[in-house]
C-alpha cells in the first residue's frame, strides 16, 4: 500500500483522509467545534466494519476543552456512547476536562493472563476443569460472591486494590509488579464513592459478571518474539488462563452517580458538548477531582476483583493438577476502561496529562517508568483477548506508541454484529457444538450468553492486532488459542 497524505480511498467514508498505511485523519470541521483532528488506525480489510456513528463519536471527542494532539481510535473502533469504543484522548491538566464518557460504566474493565506449568496434553478435553472453574467462579446475571466482604474489606479493595488482595492472601507479592499501576491507583478517594455504589460492591467481590466477560483456559500456539516471550514467561505449548472482567456494580454506580453530577458541572463551567454522555468538568475542579477519585477507587476494586478470581483459579488448578500456587505467575494485568494521570512528552517537554482510554490498552514502551526492572528493556506486556473461538494475543508496548498514541493500543477484537442480529442468526447450542468440534469447551448460564458473544460477532482478532503491529504502536509477542471458556 503506498498512498500519499490526504489521498482518499473508495472504501473509506467521505471526508476522511488517509495519512499513512492503516492511518486516517478526521479533519477539523468534520463536526462543528473540533479543536484538533481525529486520527484512527484501520486496514482496508477492516474498513467495511467502520460505522459512521463511531467516526462521529471520535470527532465529538475532539471538541472537548484541553484535548491534546488528536482524538484517537484504535483498529477495534466501534460505535459506543460518549467516546467510541477504542477511543483514546489526552487532556491538559490545567485546561482540560475529565469525562465518564471517556471511561464507560465498567470502570477498569480489564484483562490479565496467568501462566501455568501445564502443557496442552495435560488439559485437552478436560471438561471437569471447565466445570470446576464454572462452579467456583461466580458468573452471569445475579451472581453473588461466596466471600464475606465487610465494609472494612470493601474500603481496602477501593483504596489499595490488588495490593489489598495480596495482603489478604489472594495472591503473591510478585503479582503486583505485573499489574498496571502496581495494581492500585494512589489517588483513589473512597469518600467520593456513594453509599449505593458501596452497597453494590459488597456482594460482588470475586465475581466475573456477564456480557463479554470471561475466564478462558488457553494454550500458547505461536511465538513471534522469543526474547520478549521468554522475559514475559511464555513458552510454546504452555497452558495459560485469561481473566476478563471489571468493577461490577460498584463501578457502574460510580459512573451513574458522577455522570449526573458532571451534567450539572458541564453547565456550571459553560462547556459545550455535542453528546450528553460526554458530560465533563475541568480536571482541577471539585467535580472533576471527585469523579477522578471515585473512578480510581472503582478501578482499584476491579484490580482486587481480578486478583480474587485469580486466587480461585489458582486454587482450582492446584487442586486438580497438583501444581504449586507460585508456579502460576501473573504475566500481566491491563486496564482498558480508565482515565489516568500520566507523563508524556509533548513538543519535547515531559508533561503530566490526563489520558482517557475507553476500550483501549496502555502500551508503554521500553524504558518507561511503572515497568518492573526485568521487563524494562522489552516494554509493557499488552494482553489482547480474542472472542470465544479465536486467538488472543500478547504484544509489547513501544516507543512508537509513546510518540503517537499516548502509549496506547487496541483492547480486543471489537464487535461488528449487534446482539439482536447475533441472536437471530446463531443458536447458542450450535455455537457450543461447533466450538467443541474445535476442541473448545464452553460453559455459560444461558444459550443467549453464548450467542451474544459468538466468534463471528467480532472483528477477526488477528487482523486487529496485525494493524497495531504494522503501525508499530505495539508488537506481537505470542498467540494463544482457547481450550475452554466460562462465560459471564
Amino acid at each position: 500500500m503506498s498512498k500519499n497524505k490526504g489521498e482518499c480511498d473508495g472504501w473509506m467514508l467521505d471526508g476522511i483522509n488517509r495519512i499513512g498505511m492503516h492511518e486516517w485523519e478526521v479533519p477539523v470541521g468534520y463536526v462543528a467545534g473540533m479543536r484538533v483532528p481525529g486520527r484512527f488506525f484501520l486496514s482496508e480489510s477492516l474498513g467495511k466494519t467502520l460505522e459512521p456513528g463511531a467516526v462521529q463519536q471520535l470527532a465529538n471527542v475532539a471538541t472537548l476543552p484541553g484535548i491534546l494532539k488528536n482524538s484517537l481510535a484504535m483498529p477495534d473502533i466501534h460505535w459506543g456512547y460518549g467516546f467510541p469504543i477504542g477511543g483514546v484522548a489526552a487532556f491538559s491538566i490545567d485546561e482540560g476536562i475529565i469525562s465518564p464518557g471517556g471511561v464507560g460504566f465498567d470502570i477498569n474493565c480489564g484483562v490479565r493472563l496467568l501462566a501455568t506449568p501445564l502443557l496442552h496434553k495435560d488439559v485437552a478435553g478436560r471438561r471437569d476443569l471447565i466445570d470446576e472453574l464454572f462452579r467456583m467462579v461466580p458468573t452471569g446475571v445475579g451472581a453473588k460472591s461466596a466471600l464475606k466482604v465487610s465494609h472494612h474489606v470493601l474500603e481496602g479493595m477501593m483504596v489499595k486494590g490488588a495490593q489489598w488482595a495480596v495482603k489478604a492472601g489472594y495472591g503473591v507479592d510478585r503479582d503486583l509488579s505485573r499489574c498496571e499501576e502496581g495494581g492500585f491507583m494512589k489517588d483513589a478517594d473512597s469518600q467520593a464513592v456513594s453509599a449505593k455504589a458501596k452497597q453494590r460492591g459488597i456482594p460482588q467481590g470475586g465475581t466475573l459478571g456477564s456480557g463479554n466477560h470471561f475466564l478462558e483456559i488457553q494454550v500458547v500456539r505461536e511465538i513471534f518474539d522469543p526474547g520478549a516471550a521468554k522475559a514475559f514467561g511464555l513458552t510454546l505449548g504452555q497452558v495459560c488462563c485469561m481473566i476478563h472482567c471489571g468493577s461490577r456494580g460498584l463501578g457502574h454506580q460510580v459512573c451513574t452517580d458522577h455522570l449526573k453530577e458532571l451534567e450539572s458541572a458541564t453547565k456550571k463551567y459553560h462547556i459545550t458538548i455535542p453528546d450528553r454522555q460526554l458530560a465533563c468538568a475541568p480536571i482541577t475542579s471539585p467535580e472533576g477531582r471527585s469523579y477522578f477519585g471515585a473512578m480510581a477507587a472503582a478501578s482499584n476494586y476491579a484490580w482486587a476483583n481480578r486478583q480474587m478470581i485469580s486466587h480461585t483459579t489458582r486454587q482450582v488448578l492446584s487442586k486438580m493438577f497438583g501444581i504449586e500456587y507460585e508456579d502460576m505467575p501473573l504475566i500481566y494485568d491491563v486496564a482498558h476502561n480508565v482515565a489516568k494521570m500520566e507523563e508524556h512528552v509533548l513538543d519535547g517537554k515531559r508533561v503530566k496529562v490526563c489520558v482517557h482510554r475507553k476500550g483501549a490498552t496502555r502500551a508503554f514502551g521500553p524504558g518507561t517508568r511503572d515497568l518492573p526492572p526485568d521487563l524494562t528493556s522489552f516494554g509493557q506486556p499488552v494482553i489482547i483477548p480474542g472472542s470465544m473461538g479465536t486467538s488472543s494475543f500478547v504484544l509489547h508496548g513501544t516507543q512508537v506508541a509513546m510518540d503517537r498514541t499516548f502509549g496506547s493500543t487496541c483492547h480486543g477484537a471489537g464487535r461488528i454484529m449487534s446482539r439482536t442480529q447475533a441472536k437471530k442468526t446463531l443458536s447458542g447450542r450450535e455455537i457450543t457444538a461447533n466450538l467443541l468440534k474445535d476442541g473448545i469447551i464452553v460453559r455459560a448460564h444461558s444459550e443467549n450468553a453464548i450467542a451474544d458473544e459468538a466468534p463471528n460477532v467480532y472483528k477477526p482478532s488477528d487482523e486487529v492486532v496485525n494493524v497495531v503491529h504494522e503501525v508499530g504502536i505495539s508488537r506481537l509477542v505470542a498467540r494463544l488459542s482457547p481450550l475452554g471458556v466460562i462465560k459471564g
Binding site: 456512547y81 457502574h252 439482536t420
Partner: protein, 137 residues
C-alpha cells in the same frame, strides 16, 4: 396508539425504540424493555417497591428512574414486571412490582451496566411519544 418497544440494531450495546400514547406509558414501556433485556420475558410477582425521582428534564427523569430500578434490582435480587407511573412536571412516582430473582427463569438476559444519555431524546407529536435509548451491556 399501541404501546410498544423494539430492540433495534446497535453494535456494542442494546438500543431500544419505544412508542407510547402518554409520557407515563413511555416510561413504563422503557422500564419493561430494561427488565426484559436483563431477565427475559418470564417475569411476574407482587413484591412492591416505590420510587420517587425529581430531575431537570424528561430525559434525566427517565435515566434516573431506570438507574434506580437497576440499583434496587441488583441489591435486593428483584426482577420486576410491572410499573404504575405518575409524572407531575419533573417529579416521578413509580410503584413497581416483581419477584425474587430465580436463576431457572431469569438467567437468559444480559446484565445492564448503565443507562446511556447518548442519543437519548424524548419526542412528542400528534401520534404520541417516542424515544430511543441505549443500555450499556
Amino acid at each position: 396508539m399501541r404501546m410498544s418497544f423494539e430492540e433495534i440494531s446497535h453494535t456494542a450495546d442494546v438500543k431500544i425504540r419505544v412508542h407510547a400514547p402518554t409520557l407515563e406509558a413511555l416510561f413504563s414501556e422503557t422500564f419493561k424493555a430494561l427488565m426484559e433485556v436483563m431477565y427475559g420475558p418470564h417475569r411476574t410477582g407482587d413484591i412492591l417497591r416505590v420510587i420517587r425521582i425529581e430531575s431537570s428534564d424528561n430525559e434525566s427523569l427517565l435515566a434516573d428512574f431506570l438507574s434506580e430500578v437497576l440499583f434496587i434490582s441488583e441489591v435486593e435480587g428483584l426482577v420486576f414486571s410491572e410499573a404504575c407511573i405518575r409524572i407531575d412536571g419533573l417529579c416521578l412516582t413509580a410503584d413497581i412490582t416483581g419477584e425474587l430473582f430465580n436463576p431457572a427463569r431469569h438467567s437468559g438476559g444480559s446484565e445492564v451496566k448503565g443507562i446511556s444519555y447518548s442519543g437519548l431524546a424524548v419526542t412528542h407529536d400528534t401520534n404520541g411519544y417516542m424515544l430511543d435509548i441505549i443500555f450499556d451491556v
